[in-house]
Structure formats: C-alpha cells, structure tokens
C-alpha cells in the first residue's frame, strides 16, 4: 500500500539528510494518523505499541527536523505540549482548527477565505504573508446538543 512516504523520504535525501529506520517509522506513524495532532510522546507511545524502539530524544529531534523541512506543521493547543501534523498541502495554505472550549475536541476546517484579508494586511502593514494559523474557539455541535438535552 502506497501511503506516499516516498515523497517525504525524497525530501530528506534531497536536503542532505539520511533516510533511517527511525525517521521512516515516524513518517509512517504520521501518515497513519493524518488529521490527528500528535505530540512527541504520542508518537513515541505508538512506536512502542508497534513493538519498535525509538528513543524519545530521537522523536523530538526528528519532528523538529521535519518541521524545518516543511514535512510537518507544529501546532499548539495550549495543553502544554507541542503537537505536529503532517503537511499534506497541495497549495500554500492549510488547516484551520475549531477548538471546543467544553470538551476540548479539535476539528479541522478547510475553507480558505482569508485571501482578501491577507491582501489587505499585506498592503496596509507592508508585511509579506507566507502562512497563517487560525483557531476558532467555541462550542461544538455535540456539546451544544448535550446542553440542550439537559434543559429541554
């Protein structure tokens, strides 16, 4: 089964980094968990579950490297750990997150209506935008429904 790992291995090679078992393993985990937001510890746990062994320091170093190479994005949901998601982008921009302030669930949205806003900022502020990170906080459907059930 082709999950598209070659592309990422090629990036490594091309930028002068070696393709190792540990890096491949971590890439596989990221590919198997697209749309998740894994922390270094998450990744490390999954590796152990798969009966493999990779030191936690290597996981930290690898995800940092992947971020530098644009293979992953680093995201922060204020839960005390850095999280990463695979960059599966076809275009430049990507991932907005909806974060439920009740249950903490994180959902992805794909809309990309920020273009006009970005253009305006680029002109007004003289700032060349290369990326953005947008989070919306609020109440998700489930929590809203639960709340309704409670009182109706």
């Amino acid at each position: 089964m082709d999950k598209g790992i070659e592309k990422y291995l090629y990036t490594l090679q091309q930028r002068g980094y070696k393709s190792t078992n540990q890096r491949e393993e971590i890439l596989n985990i990221l590919l198997d968990n697209k749309n998740e937001h894994l922390s270094c510890e998450d990744v490390h746990k999954i590796i152990s579950m798969n009966d493999k062994e990779v030191g936690i320091a290597t996981v930290y170093r690898t995800l940092q490297l992947f971020e530098k190479l644009g293979i992953v994005y680093k995201i922060n949901f204020d839960d005390g750990v850095a999280r990463y998601e695979l960059n599966t982008e076809t275009e430049n921009h990507h991932h907005h997150h909806l974060i439920c302030t009740e249950c903490g669930k994180v959902t992805e949205v794909k809309l990309d209506l920020l273009e006009s806003l970005e253009k305006e900022i680029e002109i007004e502020e003289d700032f060349i935008i290369s990326d953005h990170d947008v989070k919306f906080y609020g109440i998700c459907k489930e929590c809203k429904d639960n709340y309704r059930k409670k009182w109706e």
Copy 2:
C-alpha cells in the same frame, strides 16, 4: 493617573476573589505594558525592577486566574513560554498577530474581517464561535528592506 485598574479590581471582587497587593502590582504591570506580550518571567522581572517582591508562583497563579476571569488573553508564540496580554476589548473580538519569521517581531493588527468567515463556519460546521486566534507568519517591512539593501 487613571489607567483603568478599577475595572479589573472590580471584576476580581465581583467574582469573589480578593484584591491583594500582588494582584494589583501585576495588573499595574499589565496596564503599563499594553501591546506587549509578557511571560510570567517577564512580569516577575519587572516586579523586581520596581523594587517589589512577588513570588514567581504567585505570578503564575495570578495570570492563570486573570485568564479565567477574562482579564488577560493567553497567547503562544512557540518560543517555549506562555504569554499574556491585557484584554482591553470593547467588543468581542480582538488581536491578530503578525509574526516575522526572520526577526521574530510580533505586530498587532486590528482589522476584523473574519465575520463572514465565522458565519460560514458556524453554519457549515454547526459550531458556535466565541473567539478566535489568528496569526500570520511572514516577513516584516524591516526585514524585507534589509534584505533589499543587501542585494541592491
């Protein structure tokens, strides 16, 4: 000089929290540093510079409390520490940040063109949005100019 501290002290009182010297001191620092993004350590250092003494644990606990009360916003610029900025909002929404990926400088923008985007999300995703956090990454004017000078 009235910096508007009363409003915040009132919030404390009203929500059943005591008004103490330490909390007032921290509020004063936040008021004197609007538009800054202070970490707990920053606040603690400023207190010491003012020849006052507040334990660092108290700073952590106080800023957490202030966040719960909506007195401050917690923001994360991926530099390893939590940062806070005073909520001076008149309306609901607030603060977008432009983060320069060259020099790390953080600028505020006030535009609020997210309304239509939010409405769309609320309908499509059935998610009630109460707040947002928007960061734009890119190259600031100064870094762009420096870059130009280098090559022209």
